[in-house]
């Protein structure tokens, strides 16, 4: 793409109430009233016909299919309306969430129950109970709907093998390890589990996606920065390279919320990742919310230097907006604090993009995106944030004209 500072979505959007409820039960026309409001905002011309077909659907499977298709269409149109250049798969409306969606498709794994993530957020954690294999395609049905409706470029975010294993209990793989120290058993189990996930689950899925026309696959690996030990990082690189081997599409990595060490270790290993064209990373969360191009104002982006120093030559997907609760203060020029949300101003987005360009040295290598998926924000907030990212990218572009 020749346009400077293109904007991309990075992950999931919140699921509208009608989408969540409609998956469980028959909807009433009142349930769809919110959808009607957004239909107007997003220019969904055939909303009424679609609503009728959802309300009339007697068969549960048929209703669910129509609802998922409609929510995917809404997600795509939300991104398009806000000016996003690459719309992903429309906010991952067809997935429960990034982890569970995959685990449910893995033979040999079982979801054990929820564990705490933060505040009142949890995730359902799986365990390997036997050798794993793929039960059915995971992302392809969603991609086929996306292909039908997308008016702009798309990419398919998938959950990376390292993260899937790191967020799971190894169970079967631990038990089959030879007796040795507890630590050695854990390491051996992780490697065996990981290589099975790559071969049995992820590569077959990528093959199907590529055959269905996917040209860009974003591999989400938030877990990688949590294990900066050399042994773990080598394992991540091995799994990545094995994953992408032989495929000709574009690959990017998305990683966010690293542990205390930040991105320093990932930067060291990034040049070893085969075919990794882009690193999309969270930065806004660690940045100040004031305008400026100086190092202090843009302290959250300092880790970019590590990637440049380590010789990573690819693009950066720059997290320019926060995606979680915000409780700090912000000047009126830099944004607006509304309830638990910060709506970053276009000027703040611009400054973050321009500062990153100073470090990376080439504006053509910088994409703009939220730090991560906007699933914890309302659609109104997501809309406002994305619209300001596209305006901020325009402002940054102007400085190069």
């Amino acid at each position: 793409m020749s346009k400077l500072f293109p904007v991309q979505e990075i992950g999931s959007l919140a699921k509208p109430k009608w989408r969540t409820k409609g998956l469980r039960q028959q909807l009433s026309s009142q349930d769809l009233s919110e959808a009607e409001v957004w239909a107007e905002k997003l220019g969904i011309q055939d909303f009424h016909d679609r609503a009728k077909s959802i309300l009339k659907a007697v068969d549960d499977k048929e209703r669910v299919k129509r609802i998922l298709e409609l929510s995917t269409l809404y997600g795509l149109r939300l991104f398009e309306t806000t000016g996003v250049d690459n719309d992903g798969v429309g906010g991952e409306q067809q997935r429960v969430e990034m982890y569970e969606h995959v685990i449910k498709a893995v033979q040999g794994m079982n979801l054990l129950g929820h564990v705490h993530s933060f505040d009142n957020k949890y995730f359902n954690k799986g365990v390997a109970e036997s050798k794993i294999s793929r039960k059915h395609a995971i992302y392809v049905p969603e991609f086929l709907d996306v292909k039908k409706y997308a008016q702009r470029a798309v990419k398919v975010p998938i959950t990376g093998p390292y993260t899937l294993v790191d967020w799971s209990f190894s169970g079967y793989y631990i038990q089959k390890q030879p007796a040795s120290s507890p630590k050695a058993r854990k390491i051996g189990a992780k490697r065996e589990f990981l290589l099975d996930i790559v071969e049995q689950i992820i590569r077959p899925e990528i093959r199907d996606l590529v055959d269905a026309g996917a040209s860009w696959i974003q591999i989400d690996e938030p877990a990688v920065t949590t294990h900066p030990e050399p042994q773990e990082m080598e394992l991540f690189v091995e799994a990545w390279n094995e994953t992408v081997k032989g495929f000709s599409c574009k690959f990017s990595d998305h990683t966010c919320y690293p542990s205390e060490i930040g991105y320093k270790v990932l930067a060291e290993y990034a040049p070893k990742l085969d075919k990794c064209d882009q690193l999309a990373l969270e930065f806004a969360n660690r940045d100040t919310s004031r305008l400026g191009l100086d190092d202090n104002s843009r302290e959250g982006y300092s880790d970019l230097k590590h990637f440049v120093d380590a010789g990573f030559n690819g693009e950066f997907g720059l997290g320019v907006t926060h995606v979680h609760d915000f409780t700090g203060s912000v000047s009126s020029e830099a944004g607006q604090s509304v309830g638990r949300d910060l709506i970053e101003s276009p000027e703040l987005v611009r400054d973050r993009l321009l500062y990153a360009t100073k470090i990376v040295g080439d504006p053509a290598k910088i994409w703009a995106n939220p730090d991560c998926g906007l699933r914890t924000r309302t659609w109104d907030v997501a809309f406002a944030k994305l619209a300001n990212i596209t305006r901020g990218a325009e402002l940054a572009r102007e400085s190069y004209q």
């Binding site: 564990v115 993530s117 009142n120 365990v127 190894s170 169970g171 120290s181 630590k183």
Partner: protein, 326 residues
């Protein structure tokens, strides 16, 4: 007497409580409904400890949103900040404390730490707090020029928290210090002066403080630090047996302290066999001759679903009996 069993931090919430807190977030439940369930489950965690023969009781910290927050909110000069950081190598997060001024004790409300009213009777009470070194390492310092000053001020402020909690009947304080042994943040092991500084802060915290103290290390190998840890003027030291290289303890250590063995893995769902736990503890005790052994999870059990956590507690209890009989 068979080894005592203890919890080592936050116990997981049940699926029911999880669903309620989620509903609360979506404004589909009110806080009083959550509180009723929290109280019910706290009682259940206490009951579980009773049934398994615990001697020091924890309330399970079910209301804690992360391991640091109650302390963060009790200190002057520290803000909760807006940033979520990953809790070591887990898929859980904590709100990063931001040090914006001189740290001192602020408004300490014991209710934010402990459901004392539910720990009825004459039971000994245990609470888990972040140690001063770990708290300082996991905070963002925007005020102190000298890290040593920050560390010592945190230690002094935590003394005030401990005094208040002592008044609530807490007799055993676990100071969690994973940062003492968790190495991946660093290229090399902490140098001697930093370790000494961390230990000085702990000494300053426990000096003249009421109650008994355990410094619990986890997520890293405690072996290189064990001699220094055993010199601390406290009741006991906790080590993570899933990370500690016992074989590297070159000579037989002897200590008058209690050793809290993190011998079930809070990061793995596989429930350890009680025979294996007892045997692992026995091998350890051949290397280190401790006054008392305590069996515990290596850290907070919140990393596994509640059902698994409870099974791990049961395994510890059985292992304690086996160990005694061996």
């Amino acid at each position: 007497m068979s080894p005592e069993i203890q919890l080592a931090g936050i116990h997981p919430r049940s699926e029911k409580l999880i669903e309620l807190t989620r509903s609360y977030e979506r404004a589909k439940a009110n806080w009083s409904q959550v509180e009723v369930q929290l109280e019910q489950e706290t009682k259940e965690v206490i009951k579980l400890q009773e049934s398994l023969g615990f001697r020091h009781f924890s309330d399970g910290c079910l209301g804690w949103q992360d391991q640091l927050r109650p302390v963060t909110r009790s200190l002057k000069g520290v803000e909760s900040g807006t940033r979520y950081s990953r809790w070591f190598d887990t898929n859980t997060f904590y709100q990063k404390p931001v040090v914006v001024g001189k740290v001192s004790a602020g408004n300490i409300d014991p209710k934010n730490f402990l459901r004392a009213e539910l720990l009825t009777g004459t039971r000994d009470r245990k609470i888990t707090l972040p140690g001063p070194y770990t708290f300082s390492q996991l905070s963002e310092n925007k005020h102190y020029e000298n890290h040593a000053d920050l560390l010592l001020d945190i230690a002094l402020a935590e003394r005030e928290i401990i005094r208040k909690l002592k008044n609530q009947g807490v007799t055993l304080f676990q100071l969690s210090e994973p940062c003492l042994v968790y190495q991946p943040y660093r290229g090399k092991f902490r140098d001697k002066s930093e370790v000494e500084l961390a230990l000085r802060a702990i000494r300053s915290l426990v000096k003249d403080s009421p109650g008994e103290f355990v410094v619990q290390t986890y997520f890293g190998d405690a072996a290189p630090l064990l001699p220094e840890l055993l010199d601390l003027p406290i009741f006991g030291i906790g080590i993570d047996l899933f990370e500690t290289d016992i074989s590297s303890l070159s000579k037989e250590e002897r200590t008058s302290k209690a050793l809290v063995l993190g011998v079930v893995d809070s990061r793995e769902s596989f429930v350890e066999n009680s025979g294996w736990i007892a045997e692992t503890a026995r091998k350890f005790s051949e290397k280190v001759d401790a006054r008392d052994l305590v069996f515990a999870p290596n850290s907070d059990l919140k990393f596994v679903p509640q059902k698994i956590a409870n099974q791990k507690c049961e395994a510890l209890s059985k292992a304690s009996e086996l160990f005694e009989g061996s």
